[in-house]
């Protein structure tokens, strides 16, 4: 008996749908075993999980708060990964987005809200794009691995945030308010520059839908059109599939690398603007660095198989899971167990991806597949 994993030559149509559903079912099954082993009632826990993520009063509002930033970083990752450019730097690009957006908001103190918000979007996107351009240029001209460079630049970006707030009297630091003299903190943006929420009354105690989430949906639509309907997107598809064919067809690969890194960085930077405008209202290095939005975004993108609309859905689900995790933990339900549940969930769903691209064969000898491959 021999077990081997081989690449699928053809994907049946039902596969991309059945595999994730099966993975989720498997995840719940494993989690149930773990919960039973630790003496919890799995059905009760699942019910509570679902209710506190999507149904209870205020649950959806909290889920949106968790989902918005990872929707942006997920889109940023998906935009780059599609072209086999592994930009791991959404984390740092988002930090720079916050820096850019907060900076502009503080600069335009007297401006009307809409102007401020528009300027924050532009500044955040531009800052993220510039930061992403560094690994982009290194990749395009120096052939360095963008995985390493973009990852390392995340730490540089984090230290830069610390410097702005803790180690200098920068423009972003609050030097006037009484609480700021006790502990260094960022300067809050003017109220008019705070991004609004659309509130839906009457359902589940009112649902607050942040503007940032709306922007993320627009970005997703933009990316979809860009990749599927434009010349630019066509070139990206060819380059991702076969760089040699792209060169043969006269496509300029280097420029595309730079452009895609810029787009990816801009989307992450926009996420930073939304985080600052919608939720934080100031530059908070500690909180930003604890949340790991950028890295979660990579998971979101992988779960969504780099499809921008699926990114939004997955960000919403993961946001719900994160949000429910807070609600679930308590005296009889340790937070570690919540982490275990989330881990099993991600592990199963990402592990299931393997089955979409590969299949597992169990056979008696190794000969038959080899003959098949030779054909």
């Amino acid at each position: 008996m021999r077990v081997r994993i081989e690449r699928r030559l053809n994907q049946p149509r039902w596969l991309p749908l059945v595999v994730p559903l099966g993975s989720i079912a498997a995840a719940f099954l494993i989690i149930a075993v773990v919960l039973l082993a630790t003496g919890h009632d799995p059905l009760h826990a699942f019910r509570k999980l679902f209710l506190s993520a999507f149904v209870d009063d205020g649950a959806l509002s909290s889920t949106f708060v968790s989902a918005t930033p990872i929707a942006f970083t997920g889109l940023a990752a998906a935009a780059a990964f599609r072209m086999n450019l592994f930009n791991i730097g959404a984390e740092g690009q988002l930090y720079f987005g916050v820096v850019g957006a907060v900076g502009v908001a503080l600069l335009l103190k007297g401006a009307p809200g809409s102007v401020s918000i528009g300027a924050m979007c532009i500044a955040g996107a531009a800052a993220g794009a510039v930061w992403a351009l560094i690994p982009g240029m290194l990749r395009a001209f120096g052939r360095t691995s963008e995985i390493i460079t973009s990852l390392m630049l995340n730490y540089v970006a984090g230290l830069f945030l610390n410097y702005l707030i803790f180690d200098s009297h920068s423009y972003w630091r609050d030097t006037t308010s009484p609480s700021a003299s006790v502990f260094p903190q960022g300067q809050a943006i003017p109220d008019r520059a705070a991004w609004p929420f659309a509130t839906i009354h009457g359902v589940a105690g009112g649902i607050a839908f942040p503007l940032g989430m709306g922007v993320a949906v627009l970005v997703a639509a933009f990316l979809w059109v860009l990749y599927k309907r434009t010349r630019f997107g066509f070139e990206l598809q060819v380059i991702a599939d076969s760089p040699r064919a792209a060169h043969y067809a006269g496509m300029r690969t280097r420029r595309k690398i730079l452009a895609v890194m810029c787009i990816s960085g801009a989307v992450a930077g926009l996420g930073g603007a939304s985080q600052a405008g919608n939720f934080d209202h100031l530059l908070d290095p500690r909180s930003l660095q604890q949340q790991l939005f950028g890295y979660t975004g990579i998971v979101v993108a992988a779960l969504a198989r780099y499809n921008p609309f699926a990114v939004i859905v997955m960000a919403f689900l993961l946001g719900g899971l994160k949000n429910a995790g807070f609600a679930l933990q308590g005296a009889d339900f340790p937070s570690g167990l919540v982490g275990v549940m989330q881990g099993i969930f991600l592990f199963s769903v990402l592990g299931g991806e393997l089955l979409v691209r590969y299949r597992i064969r169990i056979g008696r000898s190794g000969r038959a597949p080899a003959v098949e491959a030779a054909r």
């Binding site: 434009t230 598809q237 040699r244 792209a246 043969y248 006269g250």
Partner: protein, 543 residues
């Protein structure tokens, strides 16, 4: 000595000093769609260098893979020193003392020479838990001195030149005390100086009573090093001859083989103006060694010029240099007198050079994308297919459907991924695309390789059609029949140079065969160090 066996297998070859070391009797090996070895008889004696000569696809590699236990023959028998033997796995062949030096070395780049030599050796030293590097190093140095294979045993493989790496491979075989050594086109990666040093080593080994099987398609090397030669053609063993009793000319005729009837194609008597002119073109191969040397040629409107040659003599690099995929080091390519920008595929596209690339699956198409996307791979920027930044998907779909109809492409539909098409249908997509809007020049590189008979005929008809429509066609092919059948003029490429040019009507197979194998006819090229030719069939694979 076993004279009867000799007489059977080597009808016109005399017996050699030693006894028969390894013999194949009626070996047949089939792969889906091809018979790679067809009733091959072959034997090599102790103390001789025996060459296996043949064109690409003649079955040399398959035979050597059978000898080393990598494949098992479908029919026929192997005999080792007179005893029948069946290898279950490559290890059995190794244990029997048969070692092979592959074209692409089997070495671990980051290991030292000594480590590589011991690696996989499962006799006493290699098997023991603790290896004693000193003792092995001494042995390596000793062997190196004896056979003229000087190499630092402590150097790491990546630090060595390709020639030195090959020495390590041979040392590995000697260290294991191989009785029979098979070398697959060993000179492909060597400079002429290194090659002649290698020949000396091989002679030394033979003088000790070992058997050296030397696989090559180069006549002068075979003449220089071998005692006997077995010629393979289209999977069959054609003849075995003693080198002293044969000539390059006779071997070339055996290798290329067939007598060709003049094709019944009506050749054009007159052609248009010169459309494509290549002047003094030189270009580097993937390994950074010059692969195309000072090539000049012209193609007139309506003319088919064939470039014949054994694969790996710079054909791919030449096609890529003309079409801008590869940077030109020296020289210029002109279309209608206007020079093209070097290294810019788009310039070639704008000059309406159509290009059917050798590697159709990864260069000619983007395999995961749809047939429709591949139909517009080059024209997606142009007016009906895109407007402003947007693609006109409906127009593209229609274009794809009409190409599928016109060229009779068998595909479920325009949205099918290209990789699901058969080779012949894929080639139709490529040809259909390159014919769009009637090109001025068409560069067809190995356009029928790997296709079945029907598809070959289709492709050849398209090329003829193109010529009747006044396209200047440059056909680069290893298939001499095809070149003779289609071309009006034939240039032979050997080691990156044009070894000779003949009118197709007056071409003789013998003469072409000689030119292709670098036999005679071409003046000895000035050989600088490092002017060995790069770009073997898989030249982009680092050893």
């Amino acid at each position: 000595m076993d004279d009867t066996a000799h007489a059977a297998a080597a009808s016109d070859g005399a017996a050699v000093a030693g006894r028969v070391a390894i013999a194949c009797r009626g070996i047949t090996k089939r792969f889906p769609g091809v018979v790679a070895n067809d009733n091959v008889d072959f034997e090599a004696a102790e103390g001789e260098v025996h060459a296996l000569l043949g064109e690409n696809g003649a079955g040399k590699s398959t035979l050597s893979n059978i000898l080393t236990g990598l494949y098992r023959a479908d029919e026929g028998e192997l005999e080792l020193y007179g005893r029948p033997i069946a290898f279950q796995a490559p290890r059995d062949a190794l244990d029997a003392g048969i070692c092979m030096v592959h074209q692409h070395f089997r070495l671990v780049d980051t290991f030292t020479v000594t480590e590589n030599i011991v690696l996989g050796d499962h006799r006493d030293v290699g098997r023991s838990f603790r290896i004693q590097p000193r003792a092995i190093e001494r042995r390596v140095v000793e062997l190196g001195e004896r056979y003229g294979l000087a190499v630092d045993p402590r150097a790491r493989i990546w630090q060595l030149s390709v020639g030195e790496q090959q020495r390590v491979e041979i040392l590995k075989a000697l260290y294991r005390d191989a009785r029979i050594l098979i070398l697959d086109e060993p000179t492909a990666v060597l400079t002429p100086q290194e090659a002649s040093a290698l020949f000396e080593t091989l002679r030394t080994m033979a003088a000790e009573g070992r058997t050296v099987i030397f696989i090559s398609h180069k006549l002068h090397e075979v003449m220089a090093v071998a005692d006997r030669v077995t010629v393979l053609r289209r999977g069959r063993s054609i003849a075995t001859q003693r080198i002293g009793e044969t000539s390059s000319r006779a071997l070339a005729a055996l290798m290329v083989g067939r007598e060709l009837q003049g094709s019944d194609r009506q050749r054009r008597e007159s052609f248009g103006n010169v459309v494509l002119s290549v002047e003094g073109l030189s270009a580097d191969g993937d390994r950074g060694v010059t692969a195309v040397h000072d090539v000049s040629l012209t193609v007139r409107a309506g003319e088919i010029v064939g470039i014949a040659g054994v694969a790996g003599n710079g054909q791919r690099e030449l096609a890529e240099a003309i079409t801008g995929i590869r940077r030109v080091k020296e020289g210029v390519v002109r279309v209608d007198g206007k020079p093209l920008r070097s290294g810019d595929p788009r310039a070639a596209i704008h000059a309406r050079i159509g290009h059917i690339p050798e590697d159709r699956l990864h260069t000619g198409v983007a395999p995961s994308l749809s047939v429709a996307s591949n139909v517009v791979l080059k024209s997606y920027r142009d007016d009906p297919h895109s407007r402003g930044p947007m693609l006109m998907l409906r127009v593209i779909g229609e274009r794809a459907r009409s190409l599928i109809r016109e060229f009779d492409v068998h595909t479920p539909g325009p949205s099918t991924p290209a990789r699901q098409l058969s080779g012949g249908n894929l080639q139709k997509v490529v040809i259909g695309r390159e014919f769009t809007g009637t090109p001025r020049v068409l560069i067809a590189a190995a356009p029928t390789r790997g296709l079945d008979v029907g598809a070959i005929e289709n492709v050849q008809n398209y090329l003829r059609d193109a010529a009747t429509r006044d396209v200047a066609v440059l056909l680069i092919s290893e298939d001499l029949d095809e070149v003779l059948e289609l071309a009006d003029r034939i240039a032979v490429i050997y080691e990156g140079r044009i070894a000779g040019e003949v009118d197709a009507k007056e071409a003789s197979v013998e003469e072409l065969g000689l030119l292709m194998a670098g036999g005679v006819g071409s003046p000895e090229p000035p050989r600088s160090a490092g002017a060995g030719f790069a770009g073997t069939e898989a030249g982009n694979v680092r050893p």
